[in-house]
Symmetry: C2
Subunit: 304 residues, 2 copies
């Protein structure tokens, strides 16, 4: 039983980067996270889509054996996000957010999903994340992700979600903002003190930091000469990480989680090479293994 | 013969951070770099000081067996820098730079230093760095550091220095600026194409990246909950790195240089714990070894 349930957003993203433009391409936190997780463990997804949602996108998820009965089709338009990145690609500038069917979304966890041992609350309104936790049946491990919007709008609800999660994924700027702390090490430790056993701070091109009870792990990003579009990198990372954890049956030993960070890192590095899920679509397990081995090479050193 | 010659600035720094303030404390690129290098190899320093320079600072360098006959005492006041750091400590804001005796400084390399096998051109005017290269006698390896000021004012002279260096140390913002490139991987490769065999990009709390001919190495910063004052961290890193290289007799194998990055990282982590050289003064070799081992622990992972 290592099924992973991913709840989050499915979106149509319009993204502009210095290298090009994509219009109404498949996106959303649950999309990237579930697609990434599916390389490691049986994955099921819960999200809302509008009646305009292209069927090919559902088929794409199904092509990776992701269970999609949890995709609720609502009357109206699918959630849309449009954003742009400047030259440095570090920060997404939101141009427009159309909630559409998301405005009235209430996640309904299908009966067959309720016993998922691994629950990943991808970035959505923390009220909905709490709602999911009320519906699932004692998962072995819960992970959550979030974004600055919810830190600003609903910090107290978000704190409740975090307190119930085993893993928190958060990016560096958000970690600083949420804890009102400049240093990332202190920010990570503070977030940990709010409940989650493990905190992973995602730092984009600077890699990631994982904080455990007595453990600390620092990993670089996979070195790419060209980053094409960073959209979805964090979701892909978290999905890959938590997929690895599910694959191991929930091994939270330091060694297992370090490995999960590295797989998450590799997965994210593919996402940013093209728009949307274009690169992930063509991804093979062998390519993942190559990149993971390369990460080993480029971080290894001996002291003697 | 593994003597290392350090040429750069010796300064009196007035620094304000969110955690406190230091007035006319010992600083300067050559000071931090030589002090750090002295833990690894016999070190000699060339710089200019004014007739107001406190003798205790010279004694401090001598206490680490740093040869100080290259400290040229000029009539007038010592170079002074004052700056402040905001809450995030990432960027130094220069409040005032008083060149003083630096305005007319011409480095004179003492005859007994000319045969130094390892020459570190710490951050100073690139014209002076070139001048040093004209005076030394076929060093085995040359390293240089710089800053945004020289990238702005004298990019062409700086390019000449870089072309003659085996190692270039540069921080992330400067690497992006100098190469007009957003991505650090591409920036590093571009800098390498300008001549130096090895480029090390220093990223502060995010660690460092080293680019070799076919090699690439990523190291995190040592995780500190409190960074007190980042002044001198980059110089300390570079001094420790190049000190290690000198200690090895100039071993530029990938394995040796990775180890040098890690020692540089450890050295820098001590500098930022207090103002000026306060923490370095109390540093013991055992403490360095502890931190280096800790860096091994926190970056290590196994794929099986």
């Amino acid at each position: 039983m290592n099924e992973i349930l991913v709840v989050g957003s499915v979106a149509l993203d319009s993204v502009k980067t210095p290298f090009g433009e994509a219009t109404e391409a498949l996106g959303g936190s649950a999309t990237y996270a579930s697609y990434s997780a599916s390389f490691f463990a049986p994955t099921r997804v819960v999200a809302v889509i509008g009646d305009d949602f292209p069927q090919e996108h559902v088929k794409l998820l199904q092509s990776r054996n992701i269970q999609t009965d949890g995709l609720q089709v609502a009357q109206g338009r699918t959630f849309r996000w449009s954003g742009s990145y400047e030259y440095d690609l570090n920060e997404a500038h939101t141009l427009k957010t159309e909630l559409n069917v998301f405005e009235t979304f209430k996640p309904r966890i299908p009966a067959s999903y309720k016993k998922s041992d691994f629950v990943f609350l991808a970035n959505i309104d923390p009220e909905l994340q709490l709602d999911v936790l009320r519906q699932v049946d004692k998962p072995k491990l819960v992970a959550c992700d979030t974004m600055n919007l919810w830190i600003n709008l609903k910090p107290d609800v978000l704190r409740k979600v975090i307190a119930r999660a085993d893993f928190l994924f958060i990016n560096d700027a958000e970690a600083r903002q949420f804890t009102n702390t400049a240093g990332l090490i202190k920010a990570g430790r503070t977030l940990q003190s709010w409940g989650p056993k493990f905190v992973v701070i995602k730092k984009g091109e600077h890699g990631s930091l994982m904080f455990g009870k007595d453990a600390f792990f620092a990993a670089p990003a996979y070195p790419l000469e060209e980053v094409f579009d960073p959209t979805g990198a964090g979701d892909t990372f978290a999905g890959g990480f938590f997929g690895c954890v599910a694959k191991s049956g929930g091994d939270t030993s330091d060694a297992a989680l370090r490995k999960a960070v590295i797989y998450g890192t590799a997965m994210a590095s593919f996402t940013v090479e093209k728009f949307s899920l274009e690169r992930l679509k063509a991804l093979t397990p062998g390519q993942i293994e190559d990149r993971v081995r390369r990460l080993k090479e480029l971080t290894h050193f001996d002291l003697v």
